[in-house]
Symmetry: C2
Subunit: 196 residues, 2 copies
């Protein structure tokens, strides 16, 4: 195989979820059928690495000092929602139920992977939440073990500073049939039952 | 989402097998955890698009006029093996059972997708096989419907020019248990049975 092709195949393997066979298939596909796409991807990668950094306020990806959401005057600055990733933030935005601001951890606590409080920017979050305007922090990390642990850690940290902290509700998903919902979820929904 | 990030996500979607969710995950991963990998991939794509073209003799990807295999003096120039892709060629090389040369179609006949004889360079193959040195053409296209049709078409084309044409043997795979081999394969193995 030619050197450039080998170099390309190796570089493609750095993408998450791409093994040696997929990388080869991608390289062949681009060179045979989509050289324009390859050139476009090359430019996009270069540009993104060059231009994209973290928002000074919420830590998400942005090309400006502060991201569009953080400077939006229509947002409720008293609410701060903590999410693991920009993708999670986008999911919440799509629900159209939240009008506050965000803080994006860009990860979750995971001692086994060596990811501690510093790696998910908790000092920055603490400073952000203590700006005197934020009155409630909504924890929207995932409901996985690591997401729950992260939420717990942040909750303790912020409550020690006298901040009000809440967590997304747990329960049976919309459209969920009890027969097919796991017992843990039903148990939680029972404990958290609400009067109607 | 920032413009550069959107541009990158769209460009990643041009990779085969990558949908919107994967593309987003890849973009976030590169920017958060592997900016060096992103820069490397950018350079690799640029370099490959710039340097890689088709071998004048066998049509595979190469950076030189003629690929390393075609100029290898130790190869048996009387044998020409026809494969669909460079990946197929590499698989055959790994068997260490073939010492002839190759012709890489870079595709297969597929009328439904609008891929005809011209798209798989059959004129180039015809010229290559008619060089007066090649005495046998081994068809090693896939044993799919399209691969078989391609082999049949090439076989007719080359035999009309008086060339000797062969096809890889079909049969039960090594390690195959009859109970789990499909009936078509067993039927073919029965028809092609060999005296021992």
């Amino acid at each position: 195989m030619s050197k450039s092709l080998e170099f390309l195949t190796e570089a493609l393997r750095r993408l998450p979820g791409v093994g040696p066979k997929s990388a080869q298939r991608m390289a062949f596909h681009l060179l045979q059928h989509d050289r324009e796409g390859a050139a476009q991807l090359s430019r996009a990668l270069y540009q993104a690495v060059d231009a994209v950094h973290h928002c000074a306020l919420c830590n998400t990806f942005t090309e400006t000092e502060t991201c569009d959401t953080c400077i939006d005057e229509e947002r409720d600055r008293r609410l701060l929602c903590v999410v693991e990733t920009p993708a999670d933030q986008m999911m919440i935005e799509q629900t159209l139920t939240y009008k506050g601001l965000y803080f994006v951890l860009m990860g979750r606590l995971s001692p086994l992977d060596g990811i501690g409080p510093k790696d998910i920017h908790l000092e920055k979050l603490l400073a952000r939440a203590s700006d005197g305007v934020v009155s409630e922090v909504v924890l929207a990390t995932n409901f996985t073990n690591e997401g729950e642990a992260t939420a717990h850690y942040i909750s303790e940290m912020l409550k020690a500073r006298g901040l009000q902290v809440s967590r997304l509700a747990r329960g049976v998903p919309v459209g969920g049939e009890l027969e097919y919902v796991d017992a843990g979820t039903i148990a939680r929904a029972m404990l958290d039952r609400r009067s109607t």
